[in-house]
Symmetry: C2
Subunit: 409 residues, 2 copies
Amino acid sequence: MGGKPPRSPLAPDAFPDLPEIGGVSFATAEAGIRYADRTDVMLARLAPGTAIAGVFTRSATRSAAVLDCQDKIRFQSEAGAAILVNSGNANAFTGRGGSDAVKAVTAAVAEAVDVPEARVFTSSTGVIGEPLPHDRISARLKEMAEALSPAGIAEAARAIMTTDTFPKGSGAVIEIDGQPVHIAGIAKGSGMIAPDMATMLVYIFTDAAVEQPILQSMVSALNQSTFNCITVDSDTSTSDTLLVAATGASGIRVTENNIGFMEALRRVMLDLAQQVVRDGEGATKFVTISVTGASSDADARTHGMAIANSPLVKTAIAGEDPNWGRIVMAVGKSGAPADRDRLAIRFGEILVAREGWVNPDYVEAEAAEYMKRQELEIHVDLGLGGGRAVVWTCDLTHGYIDINADYRS
Amino acid sequence: MGGKPPRSPLAPDAFPDLPEIGGVSFATAEAGIRYADRTDVMLARLAPGTAIAGVFTRSATRSAAVLDCQDKIRFQSEAGAAILVNSGNANAFTGRGGSDAVKAVTAAVAEAVDVPEARVFTSSTGVIGEPLPHDRISARLKEMAEALSPAGIAEAARAIMTTDTFPKGSGAVIEIDGQPVHIAGIAKGSGMIAPDMATMLVYIFTDAAVEQPILQSMVSALNQSTFNCITVDSDTSTSDTLLVAATGASGIRVTENNIGFMEALRRVMLDLAQQVVRDGEGATKFVTISVTGASSDADARTHGMAIANSPLVKTAIAGEDPNWGRIVMAVGKSGAPADRDRLAIRFGEILVAREGWVNPDYVEAEAAEYMKRQELEIHVDLGLGGGRAVVWTCDLTHGYIDINADYRS
């Protein structure tokens, strides 16, 4: 795996103090799948009655584990459930053997924690095209089942890391009808980040009681403005998975109209999504791109993603160059409607261009000073309609090349 | 403009010996638009009777000169014509002043070489968003008109360079009805290369006599499999322009059925397109990606471009890593149909993967040895149908970051 890159300069100071979620317990193990001297498997046990929703990559070459999860997510059940994740091997493009490995692991998990096989969800992340040594995972399941603890979520976040430079967690505690309801989630992701429908590996748990169809529609909707609005490098993983489990252990029932819960879940999802960008391979700048005035929200996202994925925009940001011409270029190539002579561009509060040309009061030295910040905001107004979107990305640096031009990183 | 990067390691040994084209003469000048001590304007004078065809960027933020050319290309005329190109300033996103500058330059050219203003085509390439100092161009037109020479094409190729590390030319001499017909063309382009409809700046001249509608349909068709099949960095220019001028000076009439002429023109276009890739910013590898077995030719191109534009594929190539998993990833995200279990991947003659998994006879050391070559061929078979396409790209290296993260390169 080459030398371990240093912790991202954009990383949060520490892993957050996450609430324990009634009905969920965790365990991790060192199975030696690819890495030495670190955990590489995490197991989450979910109490009977847990509703599980998920969204997954739309890649045409998605992995065997993703296909298996997609099948199972349609299956409604009140039985206990489990999530098992390994790092070091993606079990993607492994032919018939890939499905066999998923079947072997899910059967072993089902037996170890006494849940139906149809309620065992697995994810694998790491190198593509090598057979998953599933026996190494199965061999650790008994001790993991015995070690399950509601306090293990931080360790679980570490076990699922690959090129990540820090573990990612986010949580929330809200009150519903005067009672506390808890949400805690973890994520992994650093490169091959351009989520399409779902993203990376993300697991979120809550003790709210939410019917599965309601949970699914909440998660699908919130995903659109969180994980589907980030990009590191425009490359979409074969393993992207987001699972949200609601155990109901709080006894508080959440319906589709509960704005407070939706908002808390959205905050946790957005925080995890932004942490993935903050751990973007080689990233030194965290960039928020907001697009307004587009013909539709979808067009605004198309423009935002064209800017966020442009190598020329991303290298200009790395070079702290307020090169707004490259933003014009990216808007022009996005494929969504734009009128050159109505475009306005701001860096932070600085109006750079409007009505198709540079703002006469623009002072480039001020914009150059702004670009030195670690957190940047780029705002583009199309002047066409009411469509808007916000997307998040990072810069493109020598660090990205170092990490990915290493032999088989 | 920062330090001048060294000549690309993929550059041809020398500028080719191009045939003179009857009816075309060239001149260049140092107008001091942005660069010092080099030519930055080229003028081509075309004899009366010349048919001119063109294709242009589809960018929604295309430049004033492109818009002007697009208007004029519809206008048929037997009058003499001129092409004027400046480097150093793209006159893009320059508002109302941009069109005024085009108008001023075209009027001055029309007067200097005595052709109708409607037959003056201009292109501008360089920095975006700064007003074009058109007076500096106009001031040199009289001396350029006096210096026009049929032998000036190599100098013209130099005058239109921006971040290019070598001038690009290609020519052909064919026989039609026992008489020689000549083709000669020049191009510029290095970064912001992901042509959409047309590309970069390309000017091709022939002494064949071709009616304008026939020439236009030939050029539009050939463009699809040449300039529209290359990418350096997935970013599309605001100035892409391809003009082809047929003077008829040879006296040889070419019709839509002339396969020999079409093939010669195709070879010149493809050669120029590949030279642009060979001068891709920071490039160290020239990569041919051929896709077969897709559901349609369009799908094959979509897959090819997804592979060619993937930062993870391009960095793996830079690192000489036969990381075929990243090719699977790129096929998966392209959006075109693919069946994981029918995919086959070859590096050169080496069969790496087939039927959704690694070839059992694959020896990675052989593929790693192959990847050390400067010219690489990647072949992907989808196993779905008869659709095929070939696209060309380069690797993504530290050199690209160096060139583009410099302040205002």
